[in-house]
Symmetry: C2
Subunit: 442 residues, 2 copies
């Protein structure tokens, strides 16, 4: 299901990796053992087995029973509440579905709101909402996170104005099972709800209703995703599985001064997967003034922007290649031409995808020769099943890598700091002292 | 036009910065003096004064004289041949213009191709091209760079099949003034052409026909951009200008172990500007196993993914805030609500943009308190004139910073390494020996 090639690491990192694999497997046993220290945080590990398929069934039933016709899904959420759904959607659906819906009649446009506080960005979305019959999926465990809460105030007002009493049938909430603002509001208004499990943090939640509800509403094959994840989790129990070697290799590279990991791939449809991956690792490991800084690179695009740096800048980067044995819908050939002015005739009638794959290998060798160690991960076919498997793979890799590095991979205390300052600056009750101190400093 | 606040640097970096400003200004004199060492590379510096406005006039005349009706501009180019145009387009035009053209009748959709070797990505674009009457702008100094050359073979065949003899009137080339494949092809076929100046590298070329032709075709106010750039270049002669302090502060931070610069902004429409900026700095400075690694952050979005790392990960980052005194089309208020379940009533009826600005300040202080030095740049109004000024500002800052750091800021030798491997792997003539060596290693 996934192959991990470590031939292009340095000898020193390879050796350090070997001695870390045992430790990585011990970390795995802590995740697998429900009595372990991460008991209240590892629900994602057996979610497909325990609840995944039954939740899927409930979601499918809900969608099948919808009386409302809709041709747009609007997801409201921030961080882990939208990054996974966005990643899967972009990888698995036609890029220009809003321009040409006939590209895939099963797929509906999926847009997102509530990820920022840009008024212009919100207004732009409101300006096109009238073109559609939207279904709104609001995702927030607490219901009080500023960005999605502001967005949902706006969208709720919009929907109630447009649809009156029927608005509530066009809004589905994914939230805490019993407490919080969004749960209370849903009870009051009668929104259909699904549950954010207690023992699964936002960045590990794509395979729960957090990711599944908006994806299923948009027509993505979430069943295959769940199957792919389930199978991946089952195979990762094997000590020889790529996941243990990948997690160990990352920490080995970090220990030798490679403080930045670049996830490099060659399909533009994976850019948002890169964003999901950055949150997963950055938020899990960036603690106590330590941790690998995650970045992502799209090839060959970024070889013409960040390629010079990768080849010859500071040697603080190691690279993880994300590859696939097969890319669907990629049959195009290089056309022949009368002349060879563009010097491309040596590629004439070759599959472009073959050149793309060769460029990945060419880059791997060039970067390795330039002093950039490379971990090479190859998954099967870029489809829904593999996406599910990739989510599972990187979630476990991240947990193991974090535990080995000595941090708590499931918390994120640092994200509160700017929020407190913001509350103070905007005059929220209880923050008066901080407000006074900040005023002095500005 | 731009204000640089350095209050949230550490004392040590501030002090080091002060002692670098003189050196920075000496670098500036090398750029300004046409007899200096960068003579053949600094054409961008006085381009608005020397050629910019006359080129603009020629471009406008060409567009005004077009008989062909078009409702899509397709830009073909890679790296510096599209990043600048894409950055300005995304910042200055409505996000959903393809969904609702009436949002701005002067603006046409601008799409790009030739930035990758993904067959799927190319096919996706071909699948919607029939929906439009396209105007193609192919941009390549040599005409032989693999990605745009492959894309242009495909698009040329498409256009000739669709428009027959008239295809040539729907294709405009921006290329070398006399030599190269695209120049030759243009002469043969009769494409209208504009010139990529000899003394301006790709990443410094957005204000030449490279950026101006596709932007003008798409209806962007390139006149104001040029004026903004021209005025910015004029004011930067002043030794006290922000540009000298920004360039010096970057190098001062780098000298103290801050190896990564995060460009942080709070408008989603600036994400592609971040990509332009990353190429500019990464390709100019990432040399000789040195250089600041550029990354970009979108706030508040990325505070919920990379925020934890920024707050408490490895202290190898310094941050440059990119702010504006005014954002057009940003009047939205936080709606009032009957209850305060979402705990937002303290923000009720406040302009959302005010909260967005406060979040930037809140983050600046939180990051500084967490040990992340911050450079704070504030431009006027996020519009075409300011965009032109921003391009000019960062181009000069990059050149100065690079010269001070001791590199050649205008070359990019490292980008050739993977290309040679790719030529060898794909069987290009003259690379047989390398092909054999690579085969042994794989």
């Amino acid at each position: 299901m996934v192959h991990c090639d470590l031939k292009f690491l340095t000898d020193a990192i390879s050796k350090a990796k070997d001695s870390l694999v045992e430790k990585t497997y011990q970390a795995f046993e802590q995740i697998e053992n429900p009595e372990g220290p991460w008991k209240n945080f590892a629900g994602w590990y057996d979610y497909p087995q325990k609840n995944g398929f039954s939740e899927l069934k409930a979601i499918k039933q809900y969608i099948a029973g919808l009386d409302e016709k809709y041709n747009l899904v609007l997801g409201i959420g921030i961080g882990g509440s939208y990054l996974g759904a966005q990643a899967a959607y972009e990888a698995l659906t036609p890029r220009y579905i809003t321009i040409k819906p006939s590209l895939n009649k099963n797929i509906k446009p999926l847009m997102f709101m509530g990820q920022d506080l840009s008024a212009r960005s919100m207004q732009e979305l409101l300006e096109v909402l009238d073109q559609y019959e939207p279904m709104v999926c609001v995702i927030s465990k607490s219901g009080t996170t500023t960005e999605p809460a502001v967005a949902f105030r706006i969208i709720r007002a919009y929907m109630e104005k447009r649809y009156g009493d029927q608005a509530q049938n066009r809004i589905v909430a994914v939230t805490d099972k019993s407490k919080g603002a969004l749960r209370q509001l849903s009870q009051k208004t009668g929104y259909k709800t699904f549950v954010v499990p207690d023992d699964i943090g936002g960045r590990f939640s794509v395979l729960t209703p957090v990711g599944l509800v908006p994806l299923a509403l948009a027509g993505v094959d979430v069943e295959s995703m769940m199957q792919g994840a389930d199978q991946m989790f089952a195979t990762m129990k094997d000590k020889n599985h790529a996941v243990h070697h990948y997690a160990a290799a990352r920490q080995a590279a970090y220990a030798q001064g490679k403080k930045v990991e670049a996830l490099s791939f060659s399909e533009p449809s994976l850019v948002k997967f890169g964003e999901w991956w950055k949150q997963l690792f950055g938020e899990s490991e960036g603690k106590n003034r330590k941790g690998i800084l995650p970045m992502s690179l799209l090839f060959t695009t970024d070889l013409h922007s960040m390629g010079q740096y990768a080849q010859d800048g500071e040697r603080i980067i190691f690279e993880t290649f994300l590859k696939f044995n097969q890319i669907p819908d990629a049959q195009l050939l290089v056309p022949s031409a009368e002349d060879d002015l563009d010097e491309l005739s040596y590629l004439q009638m070759q599959p472009i995808q073959k050149i793309n794959a060769a460029a990945m290998t060419a880059t791997k060798i060039a970067h390795y020769d330039g002093g950039l160690p490379v971990i090479d991960l190859t998954f099967e076919r870029l489809d829904a099943k593999t996406m599910g498997g990739m989510f599972a793979f990187f979630e476990l890799a991240c947990a193991l890598s974090g535990i080995v590095s000595g941090v708590h991979p499931f918390d994120q205390p640092g994200v509160e700091d700017y929020k407190k300052n913001l509350f103070a600056m905007m005059g929220r009750k209880g923050f008066e002292n901080l407000a006074a101190r900040l005023k002095e400093r500005l």
